[in-house]
Symmetry: C2
Subunit: 367 residues, 2 copies
Amino acid sequence: MSPSKDNPTERRRPATVSIRDVAQRAGVSIATVSRAVNHISTVNAELAQRVWKAIEEVGYLPNTQARALVSGRSKMLGLIVSEITNPFFPELVQEFENLAVAQGYEVLIGSTNYDPARTESLMRRLLQRNVDGVAVMTFGVEEDLVKKLVEREFPLVFVDAAPDLSNIHVLKVDYAEGIRQGVQHLAALGHRRIAFISGPLTQRSPRARREAFLKSMAELGLKVPPEHLVEGSHNMEGGITAMERLIALPELPTAVMCSNDMTAIGALHALYRTTHKVPEDISVVGFDDIHLAQFMLPPLTTVQMSCRDLAAAAVEGLRAGIEQDHPRHGRREWHIPTRLVVRQSSTFPRGSLPALVSGTQPKRSGS
Amino acid sequence: MSPSKDNPTERRRPATVSIRDVAQRAGVSIATVSRAVNHISTVNAELAQRVWKAIEEVGYLPNTQARALVSGRSKMLGLIVSEITNPFFPELVQEFENLAVAQGYEVLIGSTNYDPARTESLMRRLLQRNVDGVAVMTFGVEEDLVKKLVEREFPLVFVDAAPDLSNIHVLKVDYAEGIRQGVQHLAALGHRRIAFISGPLTQRSPRARREAFLKSMAELGLKVPPEHLVEGSHNMEGGITAMERLIALPELPTAVMCSNDMTAIGALHALYRTTHKVPEDISVVGFDDIHLAQFMLPPLTTVQMSCRDLAAAAVEGLRAGIEQDHPRHGRREWHIPTRLVVRQSSTFPRGSLPALVSGTQPKRSGS
DNA sequence: TCAAAGACGGCAAACGCTTTCCGCAAAGGT
DNA sequence: ACCTTTGCGGAAAGCGTTTGCCGTCTTTGA
């Protein structure tokens, strides 16, 4: 049996209300509706009023797809992160999304899970969805692809580790300075044997942080034996196993600086399990200042990187790339400052009395 | 190799390659290209081959917007969560995204932050973007709006606390059973004075969990004095302050069940700060089994709800709603099972020896 | 009073794609 | 050999917007 084919008004279409319905309701042409919606000044105020009323009445929502099709801009931004399950990123995502939405953009989020193939297909998906720009908050995107996009003048923002290309916006997190803040804090407390747990060294940014650590230590005239440099994976598991390696050393370092907070949290756990006391036996310093850090036991001393600043710079950078008609004036860098947040996971090394330390300079010698 | 210099189709648009370019390259009509792309069987295999080769050569990506415009489906799904910064949700988001992408869908994520106004505008944004369906993984969406959408047969999936409407897909997490598993575990260990830290009671699902707790306790003939029911906020801060209230009681309960893991983690912290030992002084049980739970100190006993199952059911439910042409056969429920995961944050109440537990009431010795 | 100028709103052409319809050619039946 | 059936490709009609181009109606200066 064939269903109601007799009723021509009942179509198979979803009951979506289009600009035509508004036009009919307001007794104007669809062009006028469009102009009213877009606040074009040439439309008579009284007419515009009527249009808005009609819009309200029929519950009209402009179809973004159609709009995108004709305007060439989708008003969507791509956001690529490493791992959405790493607590640092949701905070970033949140900020990014708030800012983007405030500017009328929607956000497509993707996580690469450090997998190049995944990254590639993610990029592809984003392009296919016609995002107006992409913020790459992770590392290891194919240079080829990036180069092609840059040639097209496709808006891109990288954090920290961008391919060496001009015409790219880069958010420079000052790892050098941030790590130095952490190291100097520890050194000022009297630590000399400071270990470092890095992120995955296959990637650029973790390597940069490790370099920054070595440089900071060198500046202070402190040596770093190779066994004090262990590789983690920027998550808790990595922090745990890395810390276990340090614990297994004949002599425990008196402090450990970590490449990010999750690593530090992992380190705290490993230490707790082996009944080492933090900070009495060993000081731990993180990097990022994720929300969780302040709730650790003990609350984690860490280097703050404001993900609000980061998100703001990313959105602003993308907007600049999108909304200017003229070609960009070359690579633009945004400086993201860092700030040491001292909590309770760091203190004087065991045996060094507070009284002796206060008054001495960071560049102290002797033990 | 473009002989057409005076071709009026050549505009100053961004260098996006369209179906026409492919058609030209392959020497066929655009219709053929479209059919080849969509794997329509009537296309000659050899021709299709040529088309695919051309697609590869010119680097063609079908414009999703245009496709959505004509097909009426955007191949995008909305995912509404409470707080993306709450570690439970990124795990869910991850799973959901993986599944959706595997089916050719993109995901638009939004967090409500428990703010009805935000939720409303989020919903609006999603509809305007023409998502094909929305999974609502939070609570407190306006009934009116939902009703309107349901009337339109707009695919919606709710978790647990859906408005009382037919024709809705609901993922029923078995809180009653989950909470009971937790409570019975504690009771079996010999606990009788079990407190409960709920989520924000303004919302439906937290209330449901609280009811489940009361019911489970009643089943066991255990009384719950009102001061043992405290309200949290489903995050760490809420867990901390709630636990502090319990600690301030003249007599500490021997165990506390929490409405979710973040609350439990907060509780652990509050207890640690006040030098109470977990689980010796008090057992703590969570709910959700987020990744973090196993890394707590001590590792958290909790009730697992598989967010993979949850995500899978959500995606499947939406797909069913989207891809079937016939009207739905009424409300459909998906049952999400729970499972107790015993770790080290729960044990016998102090003073109750393991051997004595079965049959005797726990002996309390003061403070 | 008339014409020129100016406002303003409508028509219609894209935007990139899918899909229906139609014509042409080849295949199959008698 | 003719007529019917079938298959496949091309042309074209939209999908819901925006926007350039005109036509019309009002305003204003001489």
